[in-house]
Amino acid sequence: MDEMSDRVDLTLQRVRTLLHTAPLHELEANKAHREGWDRLDTRYLQLRAFELVLEKMSEGEGADRSTLVSELARLAGGMDPSPDLDHQHQVAQQVVAWLLNETGSSPTFQDEHLVPSASGWRRGVSDVKLMREDQRGDEILVKLTPAGINILLGALAIDVADEQRARERLLDEEIRRGRYDRALVLATQARILSIQYEEELAEVVRMARVDVRRLDWANRVAQRMKEALDHVADRLHTESEITAHLLVAREEAAPEQTATLDELARVLEDCTRRHLRLEGRLMESSEVFLVEQEHIFHGPGSIATVNFGNEVLDPLLTLPASHALSICEGFFILLTGPESPQMLDLHHLLDDLFAPRREISDEDPLVIEEPDLVDAEPETVFSRDDIERVQAVLGSITETPVLFSDLLTDARHRYPSDEPAVSELLRFAALWACAPDQEAPRWMPRDLVAMPSDSRLQDPRFGGDDLLLCRVAEEVE
């Protein structure tokens, strides 16, 4: 009976694995509904997409979506030699979106099939994801899932760990027998298996993170992690043995074999690198899980319950504009994240001083623009000495107006070594005296005023109207 149920289960597994290819056929079968697709072989396009992604996963972490799309667009252009580049591009985009199942209503491709049980046949659903996108740092990369890799390997549901062990034994044997070409083929397959294993574990880790909020997963995941760590340690050990044999082989090899042996070494090195990285991640993840198990991550309201489209956007649009705006503003702050408050520096201060004054817009009955009142004292780029020198120059001004250009020339003459800070600061002072709209810095004489003169400023650095500066007596109340 046991033997029987094992056999039946295996068949069921094969049915499910077979259904993994269903999405590929479905796209092909329904291409008549898409305009301008009749001359395309979408199966070829889809399988090529798998290959391109796996190639990129062998070189690094995954494929860049736009590169993938342009490669497929070129291929589509070959199949249908119409000169419509936009169409080819759209085809490629849609093929990729299809494989990522972005068009479906559920996150996985689902196909119904029958499942045998003690009480007869019942309906079951095969649930599969072939590709997914993953963020690595600020890159988003397309990757194959283990099921996606399986499609390429042409294998029906293998145990990756067992397969890895078996192939490594063969690989070692081939090297010792000196059959290096065969060894290289095996090593390349071993690398694909390590990628597949890595993805399989990534999925375990992801599922566990989702489950942490819902189910008791601790024992299952912890057990799986431990197995994985043992398996990776075992791989690293075997790989170092194979590499040792490879080094011996290289010394005795004929010259025409060295290129193959070098390639072999490179592939093995890559496998080792991947396994080391995987080992690091596994250790880190186990630690995180242990903590999360005891202390569920407490991000505020971490279970999504809001249907943002019809529960937020639609009602928002029906609100009176002023209410809608205030909700939008709150949402904006929460969504866009924090920003460190900006320190005022002279560069920005000058920008602000030179900026056209903001007017209250006519169309805007509600706007109340608050001026940004900021302390201009700290964070200047000028030294105490610069300020003292400028104070000395400004101190020489009396009630008789002087031209700003004369002041500048004078200052440059007196302090030639402190250029350009002194003339910059002097210009700032003159501008403030001309249009004071904030509290003056402490070092400015309070009674200094400036007004435009009829002449142009004669200066190698600054332009515009020359200014007349003088002191005015304080008004007595």
Partner: protein
């Protein structure tokens, strides 16, 4: 619990990294180690959370790529629409349009609660969002009719009418993008979101993909806030009636 100086320093260091939306753990070994410590050392997590709360912020996610923070309205770390557009002479309508465009982008990426649970990075273009927003407005036009209720006060006009009467593109041939034409507004919003590390522009294409930060902020706090505020307004309206 007594916190020693070095723990407080580490906590501040972690927050400093997290304040940069374009910083990821693969760029700094220290950030990686601090994030890992946050995820595994509950005492440290408590210290970081306390400081973050003191600054009126929340930790909305902690994953292998770093810590994601969100500022509450009123926090000095808050980045508001006014901060964003302060160098432009923008009026009330323009601010409303930008705010709605951001909400429309969010709704387009994550229309349902289910989509928020999936790690998908479906790209969107300005076209997608505009069509989505216009369709929503058309639906409302069918429900509420063409004629706006007689009111002299623009702030009582329904938000969708403000959107519906804007042009898609500006008719003038000036180089400056318009403050109100919907396509210009949506594009500007995408650019801002990219700047804030929420979306990423695809190479050589006018499309943007959402990054994890977007989903985490929506999932953690932003979508709930909008939902609850709406519910509060609706409750108040039904009371008034």
């Amino acid at each position: 619990v007594k916190v020693d100086d070095s723990t407080a320093g580490d906590a501040a260091q972690l927050i400093h990294y997290a304040l940069d939306p374009k910083m990821f753990t693969d760029r700094s070994e220290e950030y990686r180690a601090l994030t890992q410590r946050y995820r595994t050392d509950l005492g440290f997590q408590g210290t970081v959370d306390a400081i973050v709360h003191g600054f009126r912020m929340e930790v909305v996610d902690a994953n292998e790529w770093g810590l994601v923070l969100s500022a509450r309205p009123g926090s000095m770390f808050g980045f508001s629409m006014a901060d964003w557009r302060r160098r432009h002479n923008v009026g009330y309508e323009s601010r409303l349009l930008h705010g709605l465009a951001i909400a429309a982008i969010a709704a387009c990426y994550y229309p349902t609660a289910r989509t928020l649970e999936e790690d998908q990075h479906r790209p969107l273009s300005v076209d997608h969002v505009e069509t989505f927003l216009r369709n929503a407005c058309d639906e409302l036009r069918k429900r509420h009719g063409d004629d706006p209720p007689a009111s002299e006060q623009p702030e009582y006009e329904q938000a969708w009418r403000v959107v519906a009467r804007q042009k898609s593109v500006t008719s003038s041939t000036g180089i400056r993008a318009s403050e109100k034409a919907t396509r210009d507004v949506i594009r500007r919003c995408f650019e801002l979101l990219a700047d804030r590390g929420l979306v990423k522009k695809m190479k050589g294409q006018e499309s943007w993909q959402p990054l994890q930060r977007f989903r985490a902020s929506m999932l953690g706090i932003a979508s709930h806030y909008a939902y609850e505020e709406l519910a509060a307004i609706q409750a108040k309206e039904s009371e008034d009636v």
